[in-house]
């Protein structure tokens, strides 16, 4: 199911998994994030990387539950997170929802704040946040399953 994975991440790296129940809801998204967060803290991943991972995962999983699962019975998602020894975090998220429109993830331009007041955006940040905080974002559809891979790069050491 994940043919590209072994090329990118050694299979003996520590890993974290979460599988949602069928008919996944936004509360499953919360559970997934809590589970991942606890495991990443336990694995001594830096707070900066955990915070980026949380922001990205929330957007990826919300999109699955709110959009890809529309009209899909028993929608599920799962997340595998690998911790390469070289640092950073490698994620692969799978779901049984509909394919991404156009067969590719959106480009993700950050909505403009040039016009204040009533014109301010109230959304549209999701893919922009994902693209800003990840590298190597990759989407595939294999046997009716969506597969999104991305890396949260190793954060630079704190500057003083």
């Amino acid at each position: 199911m994940t043919p590209a994975l072994s090329d990118q991440v050694p299979l003996n790296t520590p890993r974290v998994r979460f599988h949602s129940s069928k008919g996944a809801t936004l509360l499953d998204v919360r559970r997934a994030m809590q589970c991942l967060r606890n495991r990443l803290i336990a694995a001594k991943v830096s707070q900066i990387e955990i915070s980026s991972a949380e922001i990205v995962l929330a957007e990826v999983l919300n999109n699955i539950v709110k959009h890809a699962h529309q009209g899909v019975e028993n929608g599920w998602f799962d997340i595998h997170c690998y911790l390469p020894v070289s640092g950073g975090l490698f994620f692969t998220c799978r779901d049984n929802g509909t394919a991404m429109p156009g067969g590719a993830p959106p480009g993700g331009v950050m909505p403009s704040i040039a016009r204040a007041g009533a014109e301010l955006p109230e959304g549209g940040w999701g893919w922009a946040l994902i693209r800003r905080l990840t590298t190597d974002l990759d989407y595939m559809r294999i046997d009716g399953i969506n597969l999104v891979n991305f890396t949260i790069p190793k954060s630079p050491p704190p500057s003083h």
Binding site: T25, L26, L27, V29, R30, M33, Q47, S51, S52, E54, I55, A58, E59, N62, V65, K66, M110, P111, I113, A116, G117, A118, L120, P121, E122, G123, G124, W125, G126, A128, L129, R132, L133
Partner: protein, 112 residues
């Protein structure tokens, strides 16, 4: 969605007593804030000190709250935790809101 409101020097301080403002509660947050701000004084300070996480839906709900305010009322923010501050910086919403490090900083003239 638990919101705790307190009048302080003519300003309504609204503390969010939840750890997350996310897609699961964004609508509820908007509705609670709409009710809270309906009868509020001109200035509202939203205390986010207990909120660990805001996603794009939660951010949208906060922006929506500001946009729904009647003319003359303002919404300011206080106590952004690190991940919440990061979301505001990346989306540049930190340029839109007055943001205080803590609620106390929103009341500079008040004697300790």
């Amino acid at each position: 969605m638990d919101l705790q409101s307190e009048l302080r020097c003519g300003t309504l301080v609204v503390a969010v007593e939840d750890r997350r403002i996310d897609a699961a509660v964004a609508l509820q947050f908007k509705e609670s804030m709409r009710q809270t701000s309906a009868s509020s004084p001109e200035r509202i300070v939203l205390d986010l000190g207990q909120v660990d996480f805001v996603d794009s839906s939660g951010l949208g709900a906060i922006v929506n709250t500001m946009k729904q305010l009647p003319p003359g009322k303002s919404l300011e923010l206080a106590g952004l935790t690190p991940t919440v501050a990061k979301v505001f910086q990346l989306t540049r919403m930190d340029m839109i809101f007055n943001i205080y490090a803590a609620v106390e900083d929103a009341f500079p003239e008040e004697e300790a």
